[in-house]
């Protein structure tokens, strides 16, 4: 599938992946994140059951302390 990840094109061999799987594949290990699929917020308990498919817009924003 071809998706948009953080405003950039990204390809995966699989036809669909859960958020949990994408985080593992991308080696994203941040503790706090805000994740949206096609503009819809996905909370942590739903990472396992929320799937990304071809053409989706995935936004993963890492929460970083400082300010």
């Amino acid at each position: 599938m071809n998706i948009t990840l953080n405003n950039r094109p990204e390809s995966f061999d699989q036809e669909s992946l859960s958020i949990t799987e994408i985080l593992k594949l991308k080696k994203f290990s941040f503790k706090l994140m805000v994740i949206k699929i096609n503009g819809k917020l996905v909370r942590k308990p739903d990472y396992e059951s929320s799937f990304v498919k071809d053409g989706d817009d995935l936004q993963i924003i890492h929460m970083i302390s400082g300010g």
Partner: protein, 197 residues
């Protein structure tokens, strides 16, 4: 790039309200920039008092150590531009406060230091204030590596920073990078406010 005379810019901005959540390094510098250009009303909130260690980046003065940040920021803004209305809330913000305090704003600026609070304001904005653009500061610790600082747009979120540099004891936030990111936030606010409807 849009062009406009400063007189006209002031005309537009004087009827606008910007919310700033947190009055530390990001919030104090962003508020001052917005006051200088003449945003009519600023709504600021913080629970903290000024410590000497804050002065390496925050818009406060040595004689203000020990005083409330919201009171001093209001005072400092008034010294720069007495025509700005400043609504100051001495409060540790939670979900309900964020809605109650900021629901009338044209734009909201996230200026917290803790990652947990940044997440809370994004989720609150998404659920309760979806029509208000939220301008975030994410990643500005240390010094150098300026080419990594960017603006990223995600729906109604505007992310300013390098999205990498997390503050820690050995990696403190310092005036230059915090100033750059907070002024980027102020510039994004201006862009949103001056967008012709």
């Amino acid at each position: 790039m849009k062009i406009m005379k400063f007189e006209r810019i002031k005309e537009v901005l004087k009827n606008k309200t910007v919310g700033i959540a947190g009055c530390g390094g990001l919030g104090s510098n962003c508020a001052v920039a917005l006051a200088r250009v003449g945003v009519g009303k600023l709504i600021i909130a913080d629970f903290d008092v000024i410590e000497e260690s804050n002065l390496n980046r925050q818009y406060y003065f040595h004689h203000q150590i020990g005083e409330k940040k919201v009171d001093c920021l209001k005072e400092n803004i008034k010294l720069i531009n007495p025509y700005i209305e400043v609504e100051a809330h001495d409060v540790k913000l939670d979900v309900k406060d964020i809605y109650d305090i900021y629901n009338g704003c044209d734009v909201l600026v996230e200026a917290f230091d803790k990652a947990e609070m940044k997440q809370i304001i994004i989720e609150t904005n998404y659920e309760k204030l979806p029509s208000i653009p939220l301008v975030l500061g994410l990643g500005m610790a240390g010094w150098g590596n300026l080419e990594s600082i960017h603006l990223r747009k995600s729906d109604n979120l505007y992310i300013c920073g390098d999205e990498i540099s997390e503050v820690s004891e050995d990696f403190p936030p310092l005036a230059p990078r915090v100033g750059i990111v907070s002024n980027m936030q102020a510039d994004v606010v201006l862009e949103l406010l001056l967008k012709e409807k």
